[in-house]
Symmetry: D3
Subunit: 135 residues, 6 copies
């Protein structure tokens, strides 16, 4: 509190991105938004150290980079980063293409579902990171 | 987000129903309210397909239909529907009369307890429904 | 709902205490604030019966009483009380000095993380207390 | 250890009852076997105090008493009793007719699945009962 | 029970495969063993319908097919199949390359760790499959 | 497998220690036994690096060192060490004196309860340790 917790949110639909951003900021998070996979990768290169969770759409516009790819890339660099996927059509692939300890939200979802998912994953990763030498 | 997630809320105390409704709508849910078991059954007949969770009082006025009955009835038709019971006096019966994977909230409870319970159950049922052929 | 759920929050930084208090009250909780371990013990003597959870800083100013001590003391009197620790520097000690079924939040954290942690612990302790003869 | 932990196992197929009994006894449990719902009720009347878990078939022969009924009856008397259902055909009804915090095993299952289910439920109910005044 | 539950176990070290097989068979499982990724894929083509869980090494000899690949392939065909990875050197990659709801066992591990992991995942997937229309 | 996983077991009743040792060794664990708190501390000084879990009685003979003390001491040196307490009389103190993510077993318990508790804690600590830089 008093200082916001930064998240990376990847979503190509501008209105949904704004909506998600509003919900998360009201909950005490600071949102770094990306409208494409390419933009997300660029932001991850610079800011991954300070980003505390990744919230990502699966099919990001006409982009060949999917949310499955972004999550895998982010976890390679930061193995305990909380990951939340948001999707309408690609939910079926989560059990084969998602990463462990992630959450998948079917669109449409309530803002409280996203806030609860992010907060729960952050709280349990805090738990993991409580030992010395972690991360 | 952008579209609300519909819930059925059953509560005979009008003020508490309003209160619960306010809290849930602020969290991104759309509330279908019922003031009696009979009314709840009627709404379930028409809207169960679109309802994403059931939030129900146990002793609903002078009604012979209890929240235990409503939850069982709803689960027969929709086996993975999230269920939240709200009660003052009947909490003792939850371990024998409640359904699996439900949450019981003792009255009085904070609005955040209800929002967290609904959101958590929805997020984990999403998880269950992620495989093809489910529901 | 309609009635607030009382929590004891222990934090010596006045601004952070206000911030936490704001967040929790917006979520339906009533906050009893203490700025030192001594003050927290005094409040526990009088109000422990009605307090539903303890939210505590670890290093409380120049106080010799730590958050670890407060939680242990509170649990001796009320064995299933939900406990949330907030800390910057002392997180490493949680796995050896924390109590079972508690949550540790690293500062800085988002208000939603605290609200989710309190709500989840309350919801699962409700579950425990659902049987007759408990507490 | 050194003393066995008593369980009630209800199953009308004699060979399966023997098989289950063998597996559980090798794991340190003492099995009280019942071949019908009627017999199970009689044993519960006398021994429920010492029984630490209920393992029950759903459709018990031509009996009108089902495993769903036995579990509900047992939980009314002993609210935190671990319950494991074993069934081939009636699994679909678990989410509407089962009790909270129970496990359903599809027949056929490996002996280790039953032993793990019983042990896990016992270990977490121990946790619940760890506070003074419980049960 | 009385009938064994079939698992696919993939491990190129013959002695370890025997060892794992012994442990699992003593627990009531029937083991279909594969010594290479190629062999595993062939067995999956024929037997995936009846296989209830996949237990796989990560670096399977000189094979270009890894355990990560096998698990992803198996989950594409059977989205809720329990997956257990066994590895010495590749554990670091689990959070980025593993599938959701899987377990990773560090070699060396005790036979009870594997049996408990398989049984727990099977018991909770049973839970998921309890609703009509699943799988 | 093929190599045993070493545990430290602390219990002053010689017969129970033997019994526990038998059960754990049959499950693939190697038991380092201690009959007093003093002996346990000496073993921890030398072997803590290789010990994968602590299984401890609470009131260890006439010793002034309790199981609560041993667990806290062990966790200070090895923050994610799985801890299982075994006790008859002191279970009430677990929620105030136990460490997070530990399991308490009430005596008498079945051997499978201990084996399941140890295995589950080891499997989930493996999960925590899967990221680089942990421990």
């Amino acid at each position: 509190m008093t200082q916001s917790v930064p998240l990376l949110v990847v979503e190509d639909e501008a209105l949904l991105l704004l909506d998600v951003q509003d919900g998360l900021e009201g909950a005490g998070y600071a949102v770094l938004g990306a409208a494409s996979g390419r933009e997300a990768l660029a932001l991850m290169d610079i800011h991954l150290d300070s980003i505390r969770a990744l919230v990502t759409d699966i099919d990001i516009g006409s982009d060949s980079i999917t949310g499955w790819d972004l999550a895998q890339r982010a976890r390679e660099a930061k193995p305990h980063l909380p990951v939340i996927y948001m999707t309408g059509a690609s939910a079926d692939q989560w059990t084969s293409r998602g990463v462990p300890h992630s959450v998948l939200l079917h669109k449409p979802f309530a803002s409280a579902q996203l806030i609860t998912a992010v907060s729960q994953l952050l709280n349990s990763s805090t738990d993991i990171a409580a030992g010395p030498g972690t991360e």
